[in-house]
């Protein structure tokens, strides 16, 4: 069975393709959105999802969030007494999602379609694939998030030809894709994006604004108080999407303080972020040669696109209102499920083909002599230009710099600048050369970019016929297969809470957080109901646990000021 997974910065989702179409699988708490947060509780057991998210303000040193931003780097996070890489943290989230599927359908999923931001680089994609491998999944295909979203919208079903723009503003990444569909072909024309721009950055702006208003120095806050404030303002941000003005009591170390913010004020504070949103849109339009009136539809995807300022920005840019799904944060996952169905050759998809593009230009470093015989070193020679339809394979012929050169170092880069110094280094390849003059010693370099967006480099010395292949896995940000096996074994030793306890754990953590945030009567009331709930848990009788849980949950919902911490 193939599952579709949206592994997001703030939330992750999993789903299946069934006879009724794409279906998302709820987790133990009955929510389809599982927070991408991993933590360790007092007993050293691993918490994943809602429980870890609730624990975040209380124990920021034992909880990690937004680790997707470090995918493809060697950064390790301390979690209790262990140091975990972003791949392992993602694997823990994936395992929790897989457990949900197992409970729901009774089948162990072993293959998956995983969505990644379109603007993810080679290293980030490989890290995502490794994370799935650590979780025991074989990745059938990595799909770009905007492409998945377009598929979920059923935009391919529109009659005739249509061209549309998908903007995916998720928790941590921003993607822009321009797609066209005709005769059952879904073609991506251009992708652009910003891997460090998402809803989290908007929360940061809100935190800064609040601190400036209340005249509190950011350094004066303890990590714990900061995490609590951030969690509260995260909810304020969501409320601002519905209300023009929000009045909130912010938790601080001494006493909670009242703060009022209006939506227009928030928008002004976010001007720089909005400016950053514009750049990738402009580039995608430019690259595909699309004029604004060529577009039939502009689609907003991703949880952060709920913010009215985002749709206003798009409206200003294009002079018309964009389209948005009722659940913008589920769209990508639904698309991944649809692709899983496509992969399994479901009847509904027999007539649909999708083609995608590579988001970055890929090439090698060269030395270039201009017409004045000046030598320019460190120039970038592109082999695969950005927005080339993938799979793509390109060959170029180079020659050594000097006569009788013994070794050629081929350095592979990704980026858009004509100088390699401004581009991202991917890996290098050393080729022994035969003893020949440079003009008699051509080297053919082949770049192959597969359908998952993974790059393979081959160099071929024509004179000797030797061929060498670049294993970009040598990148320090990536794990080797050996390491993956080791991490897989290490992960098995982690103690994870059983799935049926997750709902209770999340509620306990949430109650503990609210207990800290409140004072006086509210605090006493929480304490009383918490004790009752704990006592009910001790009895291990569902008949007693259920009313106690409802009792506590109602109070917490009331105190949080909304039905659920996040809109559905």
């Amino acid at each position: 069975m193939i599952v579709g997974i949206d592994l997001g910065t703030t939330h992750s989702l999993i789903g299946l393709w069934t006879a009724d179409g794409a279906q998302l699988v709820p987790n133990a708490l009955g929510e389809v959105l599982t927070p991408s947060v991993v933590g360790v509780d007092d007993g050293g057991r691993v918490l994943v999802g809602r429980a870890a998210l609730e624990q975040l303000p209380l124990a920021p040193d034992r909880t990690v969030a937004a680790f997707k931003r470090y995918m493809g780097s060697a950064r390790e996070t301390r979690l209790g007494d262990r140091r975990l890489r972003p791949e392992e943290l993602s694997a823990l989230v994936l395992q929790s999602l897989l457990a949900d599927v197992k409970v729901h359908t009774g089948i162990d999923a072993t293959e998956a379609i995983v969505s990644v931001p379109a603007y993810f680089s080679d290293a980030q994609r490989k890290a995502t694939r490794n994370a799935a491998e650590i979780a025991g999944l074989r990745v059938e295909r990595l799909v770009n998030e905007p492409t998945a979203a377009a598929l979920a919208y059923g935009l391919q079903e529109q009659q005739g030809e249509s061209k549309f723009l998908v903007l995916d503003l998720g928790g941590g990444t921003f993607d822009v894709s321009i797609l066209e569909s005709f005769d059952g072909v879904m073609e991506v024309h251009a992708s652009a994006g910003d891997n460090f721009l998402g809803g989290e950055d908007f929360v940061d702006v809100l935190v800064e604004t609040a601190l400036r208003d209340l005249q509190i120095a950011p350094t004066a806050l303890s990590p714990r108080a900061r995490a609590a404030l951030r969690a509260r303002l995260e909810r304020v941000k969501c409320q601002l999407s519905q209300n023009a003005e929000v009045r909130a009591s912010l938790p601080f170390d001494e006493a909670p303080r009242e703060w009022t913010v209006s939506e227009s004020r928030f928008e002004t504070a976010c001007a720089t972020l909005l400016g950053r949103l514009r750049a990738p849109i402009e580039r995608a339009m430019r690259d595909s040669g699309t004029r604004p009136h060529d577009l039939d539809q502009i689609v907003l995807v991703g949880g952060a696109s709920r913010m009215p300022m985002v749709s206003r920005l798009v409206a200003r840019l294009f002079g018309r209102l964009p389209l948005r799904h009722i659940h913008p944060d589920q769209t990508v996952a639904l698309g991944a499920c649809a692709l899983a169905g496509m992969k399994a050759r479901d009847v509904a998809f027999r007539e649909i083909v999708m083609t995608d593009v590579c988001p970055y230009t890929l090439g090698v470093e060269v030395q270039h002599t201009d017409e004045h015989q000046r030598v320019h070193q460190g120039m970038f020679s592109p082999l695969i230009e950005r927005n080339t339809v993938i799979p793509a394979s390109r060959v170029a012929t180079y020659s050594p710099v000097r006569d009788f050169q013994e070794v050629l170092e081929l350095r592979v880069f990704q980026g858009e600048s004509p100088e390699v110094a401004h581009n991202v280094f991917l890996g290098k390849l050393e080729l022994p050369l035969p003893h020949k003059r440079r003009e008699d010693n051509p080297i053919q370099v082949r770049f192959t970019y597969d359908v998952n967006g993974l790059l393979e480099v081959q160099a071929h010395v024509v004179a000797t016929g030797t061929e060498k292949q670049l294993v970009i896995e040598q990148n320090p940000g990536l794990l080797t297969p050996q390491q993956i096996r080791e991490r897989l074994a290490a992960l098995a030793t982690l103690k994870v809470h059983p799935r049926d306890q997750q709902a209770n754990l999340a509620l306990l953590a949430r109650a503990a957080r609210l207990y800290e945030e409140h004072t006086g009567d509210a605090r006493r009331e929480i304490g009383a109901r918490l004790l009752a709930f704990k006592a009910a848990l001790e009895t291990q009788e569902p008949r007693q646990i259920e009313p106690a849980r409802r009792h506590l949950g109602e109070l917490l919902d009331y105190l949080d000021g909304e039905a659920t911490p996040l809109p559905p």
């Binding site: 295909r141 030809e161 005709f182 005769d183 059952g184 072909v185 001007a271 720089t272 909005l274 400016g275 514009r278 750049a279 402009e282 580039r283 339009m285 430019r286 690259d287 040669g289 004029r291 604004p292 009136h293 206003r312 920005l313 409206a315 200003r316 840019l317 294009f318 002079g319 018309r320 209102l321 007539e351 083909v353 999708m354 083609t355 995608d356 230009t361 000046r374 320019h376 592109p382 230009e385 950005r386 339809v389 993938i390 799979p391 793509a392 394979s393 000097r402 006569d403 858009e416 600048s417 004509p418 100088e419 597969d450 359908v451």
Partner: protein
Amino acid sequence: MNLPWPWQCLQLDQTATPTAVRRRYAELLKLNRPEDNPDGFQQLRRAYEICLAFAREREAQTDARADNEVVAAAQCPETAAAPDVAPAVSEATESGTATAPPVRVPAQTPAGHDATPVDFALPALRPPEVVVDELLAVDADTPHDSDAFARWFAQCPEFASFISRNVVELALLHRITTGARPTLRALQVLGGAFGWRQLGSERHLLQIGVPREHLRAVDTALFHAGAEAQFDWHLATKQQLIPKGDDTIGVEQEIRLLCQLREQRDRLPRFRALLSGQRLVRVNRLLNGWSQHYGDAATQHLFGAANVAYWRSAHPGAPPNLRQSFAGALRAAILGGVVWLGVALFGALALWQSPNGDSSGFAGLMLTLLVIAVPVIVVINGWRLALHGLARLIAITDAAHERWRERVTVWFAPARALPIGIAAGMLLAIVADRVGGAAAPAGLGLVSAAAFGWRSLAPAAMYAAVGWVMGLAFTGASPTEMPWLIAAALPVPALWFADWLARRRLPHERASLRWRRIVGYSFVYGLLAIVFSVVGAAILDDALR
């Protein structure tokens, strides 16, 4: 049927319309899915792209022909020939004046491009010239606030809309082509938003209406603006080009020198500027540093291509040329003149002290010194000259020069030169002692040691000479007396050992350099101090007697 490959692949006629090409592609694509048959898909895709481009070009030509017929019928071909924004840049590059381009300005949202109802008010748009003026003013007013420009740019309504941004961009490009210079920060924001000077930016410039013949001019102007903004930023933030540690000259002096170079970029430096070897080396290091940091093209633009070439050709490390040889010879002549003048004065002093060539006491010491110093200077200079001359003769091409450096010059590095020099020196001293008089072995020994170690040995050799002679004069012993010979030669192997140790123990080049300096110099100066105290004692002893 004999069709070119792409049409064969798609099984189409060459007269197929774009729609037909796309339809056939869609059909074939379902048989050659990218994930199942990557090779087949790539072939299909290439064929499709070629056919589609061809079909579109055909269609465009047909349309153009139809248009021309219509235009001819209306008898006004000029108005339809060029887009109305085209003169903007052409005027700019040719006349060089800042006349307002005759750009049609959309005062409000252009009607008829969009049928979707919009439920908010679009801000009224200003003429592009006004926006550009404001842009430059905002940029110039906030030199210290690094975010102010980005904030302004993010909020400017004219840039926020695809409807007006191209017109404003065109006006801005026109202004930059005619000499306006935004700061580096503004250029980064603008360049990021518009994709200036990225791969494929020509396509974008053509699309917004820059005529093809002016593409190069616009690109060059953008590059120049970038390079100049970089220069201003470099000066304002006081960046250092020459890395700290070895032969650094300090930020202030670097900036002064860079400003001088920039001011004088339009005329070639005078030949006498090359006579200061130190200045020549510094200028070259600065120019190379600039090339390394900001690119060679920026260096050429900022400091004048001819000037950069001039300075580079005069550098001793450059391939041999007339200017460099001439300047080098002149520098050597001046330096040699000074040295020989000093030697002559010293000789005159010695003769004045002892007119009849009396070789005892202090005067005798001076004469002996002179006898040794003259051959040392002659041989060192002769040896260097011979080496350089040989390099010039043999190593004519760059590659040969490099080979020369690899194979010959390494023998003169202290690690190899010192042991060889010492061994040869001792051998010569013994031979000369058998053959000649008192000063001969000393002179020959030092000469050979100095010749082989002329780079770092010079201070050590000079010290050895002084120490040895002083010792002889003090004791009045025979020149071959061993303890003094050993004492004199001692610092040389010690220095060599320190050098070897530094290289072995400290892999980091700069640290090792510092260490070598500290160890080497303290050694030399400490021993020099001992020697001078010995000399003082000798003179005192002589005077008392």
